[in-house]
């Protein structure tokens, strides 16, 4: 139990650190059903990001595993003109970070 609590605190701390890094605009944590459970952006943006990213992630993961079932997706970067969206999936959750890398 202690381990889980420590891990939770560590995760919180890491998220705070990421949030304070240069150029990071927002962090969203989404659970397996596509419902955002934690976010630093406003509600409408969060919901939009979560929904769209969820579909993209399923597609990307399906593609990687289709080609080789022993493989799995580690992360996905979507670089656009204005910013970069980084998506890292887990078994039950996934994390979205929006960063503007060149400030």
């Amino acid at each position: 139990m202690l381990d889980i609590e420590c891990a939770g605190a560590e995760v919180e701390e890491t998220i705070k650190r990421i949030q304070s890094q240069k150029g990071v605009q927002g962090i969203i944590i989404v659970n397996a059903e596509g419902i955002p459970i934690k976010s630093t952006l406003d509600n409408s943006s969060t919901v939009q990001y979560a929904g769209n990213v969820h579909q993209l992630l399923m597609k990307a993961r399906g593609m990687v595993r289709d080609i080789d079932p022993q493989n799995d997706l580690t992360f996905l970067r979507v670089r656009s003109k204005k910013n970069e969206i980084m998506i890292a999936p887990d078994k039950d959750y996934f994390l979205i970070v929006i960063q503007n890398p060149t400030e």
Partner: protein, 628 residues
């Protein structure tokens, strides 16, 4: 001809009419010539005069003449001679019916009815009707006919409907990877069930684990599962921020080195700092051999007067903004070493004389072994620790040298750490006190220790007085050799990783000296302008080494290229910052230097500094050439 006569006789009376007739007759007669049809047979006169007999028969020429019938008596087919010879040419069925026949009478009765139908029907015509219905003979006076009708039930429609079975919509995808996942899970389940059969008391444990699982699940949305993912994201974010640095690290090769002659430069890459370590200075650095981007930093203080706590940090090049592992120690860390094969074991020597071993796999902050409680621990700061090969019982062990003048071997036996005295550094004149077979001298302060790469029983110890002692693990009483190296503290001795006889030493007397172990005097001597705090051989070349000094400069030498001067002398930290440690990365062309502010700076070596010698062992050639 006769016709013409008749016509002739009436001629006198009807001239005009007869004249026409005669004309017609004549014409008709004239036309009466024989005309042959085109398909008539051409026969000769003889054939024409032939007499052909024609006979009339009573038999039907179309009747079959070869009818056979199977005779069961004789068991064979027998022809029937007598065949019906009647040939019907025309048949017409008539519709006349005889008056007296049944059908005739019926028809006659019907006819009469129809005629009577025009008149009004009278009830006392029963007689007539009775006469018509001749078939049914009934009693005229006493006949009753009754009819009744059964009750027709009103028709009803009854239907019943059963409750439909519960339905649910199910949809799923069957991909190759879903099938693979399922098989993997199935395999795991089978293995678990095998283990279940083998163990008997596992049931209770399973219940406990199930309870734990339930508890963990009820904390739903527990984001502690995200630890790995969050780490990945943090590294990605850092990669983006330090994108140019990462690109430089991987790909930048300074092209101007071609024009610089022999000289090279150091390109600053990342700077690693931890804000809680601001007051501490870097005392030890070590790269991890298994994971080439991970390195350990020991933080403490070199000053005698400013002793406080210490820290052990692990950084990775993938995340320059925050350390991967953080351990707080009670006193300042003076030295550390990472085990060559088991890269999660770290031995740390502290200022208060304790040695500790940390296991990176465990999540706790505490070391797994600590020599605080054991007897025979060092009484003064531990200056260097080095891991050794596992002993015969395959226990891990390491050797430490400390400022109290003793060389001690520590063995990790299960839970505790055991000390085995190896040697003590002795002065020439002192008194001895016997303790447990070992001779205990008040000896010299050992400051540095290094073990030979190939012959790992042979080691070098540098002392505060400037002497270097070469010893062997098998001779615990005496040292094999003694070199008068420096006038002041020897800060580092290191064996050359390629050449078996060469080692390097540096000290506070501004000197860096290269020795051949067979010779009493150094082969090369370099003077740098200030006290040299650390020196390291390069892992890719036997002739390249680098040294750091207290004025913040890094000096890189390549004996193959230039035996007298450094190829690079570059100040890498801001003013008045002293550099204390330097280490080469085993794989990548970078070095890390630690300073007294607690920062670690990584620098990339330019191509001129990275030249690999082409000939086998260039160092031998350098040494054998007459230089001194």
């Amino acid at each position: 001809m006769s016709v013409s006569h008749k016509v002739g006789t009436m001629k006198s009376k009807q001239d005009e009419e007869e004249g026409l007739d005669t004309a017609e007759g004549e014409e008709w007669m004239q036309g009466k010539t024989l005309v042959k049809p085109p398909d008539q047979l051409d026969l000769t006169e003889a054939e024409l005069n032939e007499e052909i007999t024609r006979v009339l028969k009573a038999s039907n020429p179309n009747a079959p003449q070869n009818v056979v019938r199977y005779s069961f008596k004789e068991g064979c087919y027998k022809p029937i001679v007598f065949v019906d010879q009647m040939a019907i040419h025309f048949e017409l069925e008539g519709n006349l019916v005889h008056k007296e026949s049944d059908e005739g009478r019926r028809l006659m009765a019907k006819q009469a009815e129809v005629d009577d139908g025009g008149g009004v029907e009278r009830p006392d015509n029963v007689a007539i009707k009775a006469a018509k219905r001749e078939q049914k003979l009934t009693n005229q006076f006493n006949f009753n006919e009754r009819a009744s009708q059964t009750l027709n039930n009103t028709p009803r429609d009854i239907s019943c409907q059963t409750e439909p079975p519960p339905r649910a919509n199910f949809s799923a995808t069957a991909n190759q990877w879903e099938i693979y996942d399922f098989y993997v899970e199935e395999l795991q389940r089978r293995e678990k069930s095998k283990e279940k059969h083998e163990g008997q008391f596992l049931n209770k444990e399973e219940d406990k684990s199930k309870k734990k699982m339930i508890q963990a699940e009820t904390q739903n949305d527990d984001i502690s599962q995200l630890a790995k993912v969050v780490k990945i994201i943090e590294r990605m974010v850092n990669q983006n921020i330090f994108d140019d640095v990462a690109q430089d690290f991987m790909y930048f090769e300074d092209a101007s080195d071609e024009f610089r002659g022999e000289k090279g430069t150091l390109l600053p890459l990342w700077t690693f700092q931890y804000d809680k370590a601001k007051s501490l200075s870097v005392t030890a650095l070590c790269w991890n051999h298994k994971y080439n981007d991970l390195f350990a930093v020991g933080l403490g203080s070199h000053e005698f007067t400013q002793q406080g706590g210490g820290m052990l940090l692990f950084y990775t090049l993938k995340n320059p903004s925050y350390p991967e592992f953080i351990f707080n120690t009670a006193s300042g860390v003076m030295c550390l070493d990472i085990h060559e094969h088991l890269s999660y074991l770290v031995a740390v020597g502290l200022y208060d004389g304790c040695v500790a071993v940390y296991n990176l796999k465990k999540k706790t902050d505490q070391p797994i072994y600590n020599s605080r409680a054991s007897s025979g621990k060092h009484t003064s700061a531990v200056m260097q620790v080095k891991w050794q090969k596992d002993d015969l019982d395959s226990n891990h062990n390491f050797i430490s040298v400390s400022a109290d003048g003793r060389l001690v071997s520590w063995t990790l036996v299960k839970v505790q750490i055991q000390m085995t005295f190896v040697k003590c550094l002795r002065k020439t004149t002192s008194y001895n006190v016997k303790l447990n077979k070992c001779v205990f001298f008040i000896g010299l302060v050992g400051t540095s220790l290094d073990f030979h790469k190939q012959k790992d029983y042979s080691f070098l110890v540098g002392t505060e007085h400037g002497k270097i002692h070469k010893g062997s693990k098998y001779y615990s009483s005496k040292f094999l050799e003694k070199y008068d190296a420096h006038f002041m503290n020897v800060t580092r001795v290191k064996w050359n990783p390629f050449h078996p006889d060469v080692f390097i030493s540096c000290g506070w007397d501004w000197m860096v000296k290269i020795w051949d172990q067979t010779m009493k005097s150094p082969v090369f001597t370099f003077e740098l302008k200030t006290s040299v705090t650390d020196v390291a051989w390069a892992p890719y070349s036997s002739t390249v080494f680098a040294a750091v000094t207290t004025d913040g400069k890094v000096h890189v030498f390549d004996l193959n290229i230039n035996k007298y001067e450094a190829l690079c002398q570059q100040k890498v930290v801001s003013k008045k910052t002293k550099l204390f440690n330097i280490e080469f990365n085993p794989v990548h062309p970078i070095i890390i230097v630690g300073d007294d502010r607690g920062h670690v700076t990584s620098l990339k070596l330019s191509p001129n500094l990275r030249k690999k010698p082409k000939v086998g062992d260039a160092l031998i050639l350098c040494i054998e050439k007459p230089t001194h």
